[in-house]
């Protein structure tokens, strides 16, 4: 079975400060890992993914995430937060060996960036 944990319901940061949104996962095989963002009244937008290779993955809007196999984590980061980054962020995992397109999503973390 595959699962994802996002331990924080909400993260608050000041604009210009670095942000981190945490994610840990569990899969029986090797993981595909994803981050999605959901703005109010919108669907999910893809931010970035880890498939293989470099543990540091860069994605849209200046976001990046680091895959840490020993800690089974895939935390989302941005060096300097913007107010417009305020949204709901979902981490997702899929087992590479399963061959299915169906990811398992975390419960989401609400990011609030204040001026």
């Amino acid at each position: 079975a595959q699962s994802v944990a996002q331990p924080e319901d909400q993260v608050k940061v000041a604009e210009g400060n670095p942000l981190t949104v945490k994610c840990t996962y569990s899969v029986s095989g090797n993981p595909y890992l994803f981050w999605y963002v959901q703005y109010p009244n919108r669907g999910l937008q893809f931010l970035l993914k880890y498939i293989t290779g470099d543990n540091l993955v860069k994605g849209s809007y200046g976001f990046e995430a680091e895959f840490n196999k020993s800690q089974t984590s895939f935390h989302l980061k941005k060096p300097s937060a913007l107010v417009s980054d305020s949204a709901l962020y979902f981490c997702a995992v899929r087992d590479q060996e399963k061959g299915s397109y169906i990811p398992t999503f975390g419960r989401g973390t609400s990011l609030i960036v204040h001026p």
Binding site: Y32, Y101, G108
Partner: protein
């Protein structure tokens, strides 16, 4: 990538009625997925829509409540039947391509 058009974007419905949500993809895909996102919660997979066969439902979801059509490789509908306030959610259509999942903008349903 994949461009997914979903409609309606939102609706307010009376309890006991049904609503059909449409999902159109810009290219052919084998499988389409329907998710529910209840207020303050994550995404829950309702079913996988396969072209030419019955949809595959996840535990806790049944065809009588959520009938799905998949008439061709670019289109699917999800009906929420005999609605109650507990069905108030965002419903999302999704497709998979090149290891990624792509989503429509969602349908925000409120049942009163």
């Amino acid at each position: 990538s994949a461009v997914i058009s979903q409609k309606p974007s939102r609706d307010i419905c009376q309890r006991g009625t049904s609503l059909t949500i449409q999902c159109q993809v810009d290219s052919q895909v084998t499988m389409m997925f329907w998710y529910r996102q209840q207020p303050g919660q994550s995404l829950t997979l309702i079913a996988t829509a396969n072209q030419g066969s019955e949809a595959t439902y996840e535990s806790g979801f049944v065809i009588d409540k959520f009938p799905i059509s998949r008439p061709n490789l670019t289109f699917s509908t999800l009906t929420v039947s005999n609605m109650s306030p507990e069905d108030s959610s965002i419903y999302l259509c999704s497709v998979g391509r090149n290891t990624e999942a792509f989503f429509g903008q969602g349908t925000r349903l409120t049942v009163v």
